[in-house]
Symmetry: C2
Subunit: 200 residues, 2 copies
């Protein structure tokens, strides 16, 4: 099997959420695995001098309109959460930790956390809510609660962010196919074309 698709995302990223609902079908079509990389963009924004999209004059208004429009275009359930954007350290640590325990369950958790935030308006910056969502996919609350505070799990996130920066990731989602990075939900067509043709 060819190399996996690398999917970098932040749990508070609407376009990351939208792409997360579509990338599996694309990967399946081209017989690729996906490596899911939860990151916290806030740490990277310190490097790039960026700020949350919806808070930028003019661009923010467009983005809010475009997120909903992009969701409608692909029939993806979506609402901008009441509390947006939020910190995603707990959610990212949860995803990274669970991947070391049960890879398949960690993917279920990723989808569940995104749905909780962008469909059910649950504030996933609250680690109690992260634990509740995790329990809905079969993770024992005691285990994840303990894991989230260990130095090892904190280190996983630090390493994940450093790895992302080393690969040039600055936004969510960033999809890397055979070393080629594509930034944005609106580049999934390009990802498909690259997978089908081998590049241009």
């Amino acid at each position: 099997m060819a190399d996996p698709i690398e999917f970098y995302f932040d749990f508070t990223s609407p376009y990351g959420y939208l792409a997360s609902t579509r990338i599996q079908a694309i990967a399946d079509q081209y017989k690729r695995e996906i490596i899911w990389h939860p990151i916290v963009l806030g740490f990277i924004f310190k490097t790039t001098g960026s700020q949350p999209l919806t808070q930028i004059p003019l661009k923010g208004d467009y983005a809010i309109k475009d997120m909903a429009r992009s969701a409608r275009q692909h029939s993806i359930p979506f609402q901008l959460p009441s509390n947006f954007p939020v910190g995603t350290v707990a959610a990212a640590r949860a995803g990274l930790w669970l991947a070391t325990v049960d890879q398949m369950q960690s993917v279920q958790l990723i989808h569940a956390l995104y749905k909780a935030y962008f469909v059910d308006d649950i504030d996933i910056s609250n680690s109690d809510n992260v634990v509740t969502v995790a329990s809905s996919v079969g993770v024992k609350p005691d285990e994840i609660t303990a894991a989230l505070e260990t130095p090892e799990v904190k280190g996983l996130l630090k390493t994940a962010v450093e790895d992302a920066v080393a690969k040039g990731v600055f936004g969510s989602p960033t999809i890397v196919v055979d070393g080629e990075p594509f930034w944005g939900h609106d580049r999934l067509n390009d990802v498909e074309q690259w997978l089908s043709t081998g590049g241009w």
Copy 2:
């Protein structure tokens, strides 16, 4: 005939250039006119706090790679100019002025200026170069040289930028179809889908 497509662009914008080479075929297919709106993004960046794309850490490296890749994808001649980005006040004034004199010739000038900058590496921030390019599409050098310094033509650009901001334009290209804004060369597929379906 349905409403025209509004095409907002900056002459120093690589993605504006790429889209400028493709928008006419799309407009023709859906029997739409195009209104070309040269603007100077530098004035708008003061509002949005943005900075030139290629100067942003990480994002700039990606952009430089992606511009060339997007050009290859669509077989569009392209090279990043030696002097990039540049001020486009003279170029934008030239385009706006000529549109008041000869609409068709102004579109020829827009394509010629973009080609001069992104294919022939001519620095179009230099107004002498703008005059030379204009003469290649049949504009008399004396006439354009005089026009560029009139208060009326300076006012055209000021009004164009204010109009763009009022419509929410913050980046280049921005393509507005029936009141619906699409930002980016990578949204031309969406523009086509909107034109063909009437929206979603």
